[in-house]
Subunit: 334 residues, 4 copies
């Protein structure tokens, strides 16, 4: 039974708390948050105690920490926790600054503790099935990967300003998916963006709609479509054309009911947002973390994976800014 300290009691911390508690081999012993109320509430529901992040990291009785704090604290906390001998599951992104993320890896590595980055979509049963089918050769050689990733509604502009931009904040999930599926970093990145959903987002220097194309070795390609607004909900799909066929992972719908009238045949729309769509993915993610830590095997998402996704995001931002293709190896030194 692993004793877990949860750093961060916000929305995503609460999701993780339930999975920690429900897992037969993990126990939630302590919770920290910069807002005391949030920490107290979450601790009470799950029978844990409230402590500071420093206390949790310093406690030798705690085996692992889950970092669900604000992005700017991720790298520091990972470094402190690994130095204190703890296994770590840290929410994405590692940091908004690529150099800081690279340093973090360099500092964590020597401690030899398992560190996993929370790219939850890799654990979605649908995307996972697609990846497995591809790895089994169902469509032959992969040629053209296509990811649709739309949020239901744009975040407030105040959030956009500190988010690192659509590529580092939102598309980073999709960049990780593409690198994971192809098994490597792209060689070239080309992106375009606009702020057609909300001009205020444009004034804040960001895009709300973007298309990124990735060129992998051997002429393999990917295209990622992002929008901050899909009126009908969270649109999360993948298509993958290969030499022998096409793989597609469709949306998860709210239910299976269909109503057919003179007006047409209407089914439910997709699950509203990530908490609904990826509920199961978060659970499997936690199971995988525990399995890796307990079994002393490699974790399915590494700190290097977190850095790779940042590299692509950096390249996409540069490409969209300058209207040209970016050569990843030459221009984004990691």
């Amino acid at each position: 039974m692993l004793k877990i300290g949860l750093l961060g009691a916000g929305r995503i911390g609460q999701v993780h708390a339930v999975n920690i508690v429900a897992h037969p081999q993990s126990e939630l012993v302590a919770v920290s948050d910069k807002f005391d109320d949030a920490a107290q509430n979450l601790a009470r529901v799950h029978g844990a105690v409230v402590r500071t992040s420093e206390e949790i990291i310093a406690d030798p009785a705690i085996d692992a920490v889950l970092i669900a704090t604000s992005t700017d604290t991720h790298a520091d906390l990972m470094e402190a926790a690994t130095a204190a001998g703890k296994a770590v599951l840290c929410e994405k992104p590692v940091d908004l600054d690529l150099k800081r993320a690279v340093d973090c890896l360099a500092r964590c590595k020597p401690h030899g503790k398992p560190v996993m980055v929370g790219f939850n979509r890799r654990f979605d049963p649908n995307f996972n099935s697609l990846k497995s089918a591809f790895d089994k050769g169902e469509i032959g050689k992969g040629e053209l990967l296509s990811i649709t990733s739309f949020d239901p509604a744009p975040p407030p502009v105040s959030y956009v300003k500190v988010s690192g931009g659509i590529f580092r904040d939102m598309a980073i999930h999709d960049f990780d998916m593409a690198c994971w599926i192809y098994g490597e970093l792209p060689e070239k990145v080309t992106a375009i963006g606009s702020s057609i959903v909300d001009p205020e987002i444009g004034k804040a220097g960001d895009f709300d709609t973007a298309i990124t194309t990735l060129e992998f070795s051997g002429g393999r390609m990917a295209v990622i479509k992002n929008s901050r607004r899909a009126a009908y909900g969270y649109d999360q799909r993948i298509e993958f054309l290969g030499s022998d066929g096409l793989l597609a992972a469709h949306n998860v719908l709210e239910n299976t009911v269909e109503i057919i009238t003179r007006a047409g045949a209407t089914k439910a729309k997709p699950e509203h947002f990530f908490l609904e769509r990826y509920a199961k993915a978060y659970q499997i993610e936690w199971n995988s973390f525990i399995e890796g830590v307990e079994g002393d095997t490699e974790l399915p998402v590494t700190l290097q994976d977190g850095i790779n996704a940042l590299i692509v995001a950096e390249a996409a931002a540069l490409s969209a800014r300058e209207g040209r293709t970016v050569d990843v190896a030459k221009e984004i030194p990691a």
Copy 2:
């Protein structure tokens, strides 16, 4: 090139006329109809001449006739045409009276001319694919066949009164499908009916909604659902459970467009009625008739098939009337 006489220039006669004309091996030479206008119009469009049914049948230069007149004339015309040495394609049903249909077969047979009954649904590419997949063993042994057959709107009560009732007029197509798919007549028939769509239909002694179950040899079953009204259009589907799986033929939709909004994901409704849904089936039916006549091979739907469907209809009507299962071999002497 076969010279064809078309008896009947109504809605369904017009559909057939186009297919006769379009086929490279058939030529529409003459048209008859009890309404002279209808015959004149159709003949003009296709460059044929108007004659009486008797003249057409008597003309040795005409190779085949297509009978698309009112039901009460079918048997007489088939007998006259075969006696005159013509191949015949006759619209369903053979007759509303089973005995008359049986006599018709007895009288036509000795002339040795090919006679085909127009069960158009057998030629629908979807139902045909289902049948082929079943015959190829895709679902193993057939066990439970389920046919959904709903019209978009009930006919006028005046039509209902002369129609022979829902089983002989409408479900007869589905009875033929079931016998065709299983390759035999059912042993037992049980039906229930109500007039929930239009009470006037009930007052006319008929049903507008009915469910018929058929028991075939070896414990194999079928169920047929009929309604005179599906607000969303013509609902024509088949499902077939077998020992190794399920076969389904879904509806043909008006188009492939989907609109996804806050209100859900809406696709087109099914094609409106038989002229749209079975346009291709009528064309393939005609091709099959020509192929059989030209190639001197057995036609895919025989007069006996027309009689078999009537036998089931007769049994269903009796069952619904008496609230009990009908033993086909014992109670419906054909």
Copy 3:
């Protein structure tokens, strides 16, 4: 916080145990089972104690019992528990014998304690959405309800022999669905059955494949298709034709992935069996029970509902045996 005693630690008892434990207002305090090992295992996992059913029922500190024992003990346990002042959630069926079930209701009622029968499918989010849409008038007046209910594989013949037969054991869920959706008992029941899946089931006096038609007031109808074997998994669907359209609840698939190759476009098959398909339904069922007991409001499924489903099962069995329609009010005295 309600203290719960769980009677029965088998497969379905284990499903309920998890939901009892996970609910913030219920606590699993005691478990009984005729097999001591099963009880010990389940109690250990959830931190409960093992006791006999009698002890649990006699303990005034226990507020409610969940009865998940073998069918022949249901009625006795319900009577004892309500007499001891406990709220009860009892798995279906109430009893295989209709008279016994009616007596049970008569004996439980005077104690005034809430009793709910575990018709889990009413809580399936898909079927529930269908029912809500119908109640909101989305398809106008209901006319023809169609339920497909196939198990993935037949049970052993030893089970079949004590099961009460396909109508009381399996179709009873579907009979409850039909009565629930239409809001009344049918007036007439007609059923056919065969043992095409496994002749041994026939030798045991039961069917493995059956079709039941139900006639409700006003000419409204339902048809239920049952098979003990669908090679592709658990097939659980509902279609409902109304005056303004059609409602359908489709199967829940294992995932949303599609593979398109020369061989066609392949999606996942339905969830394998009831534990997977109805996992969420069992959870909502328990929530509804707690909500009703805590809120002192009427429970969504009553003991009378359990009896009604048995009445239809009795009628179906009689109809299939005698090859005729059964008049429920006249022939099945409840």
Copy 4:
């Protein structure tokens, strides 16, 4: 009744011939082809005569010509035909050379005769429904258009060499779709390409797989995915994200049959290639041409539309070559 001369009796000429003959207001009177056999065969089937292109264009009794010859003859024939007072329907592209196409427009225009370019996809009932739904405002403001356009198999390298390349030969249809849907030329074009399907295509200086992004006014975007090979058939889909929802036009499948077994649920694959998928579109295209010519109204696709698609193709080819975004107005002078 318009008298039509058909220039070109190849595969696509034969498709048009059937539609010309079937239309009640057009009559196929003459056919030309550089291969005499092809012209003779087609003429015989439809009762037309064989003549040279020059003779057809010179004949004052012929009202309109359909140009279905090789691409390099399109512009000359259009100029000659309009000069001779004929209405023209010309297959795409106008020419492989943008300047030649622009000259063609300049020379045809003064004659004031209707000229239509055969962008058949605009007439596909599915894409047409999508466009209509968009124009009616079903998804609000259009933001991100996505076109999937894969051929079933690559053409021979010998064809590739004279084709003008994937952008001018294949993607040109998709460029036309995007301009048609948004109602304008894009401002910027960015494309990437590879020859992953067949390296020989790469050696011939062309791509077989490409992704093009288009930036329209106001931040509106489109992305077009092209591949010369989809093993499962012709993949032709459109998705359009707007401020209020998503519009999608899915593929047309070979039939509606589904087989569900332990291996999953398999439907038919898409229609194989353009002759099957766009059979109806070609028919509607011809109807629209006749309607425009007879009614003296503007034709739905103009010569300028043909030029616009070429402009985008030119920009895409340049972008892919140089690895940068191309500014259409500045860099592609038309």
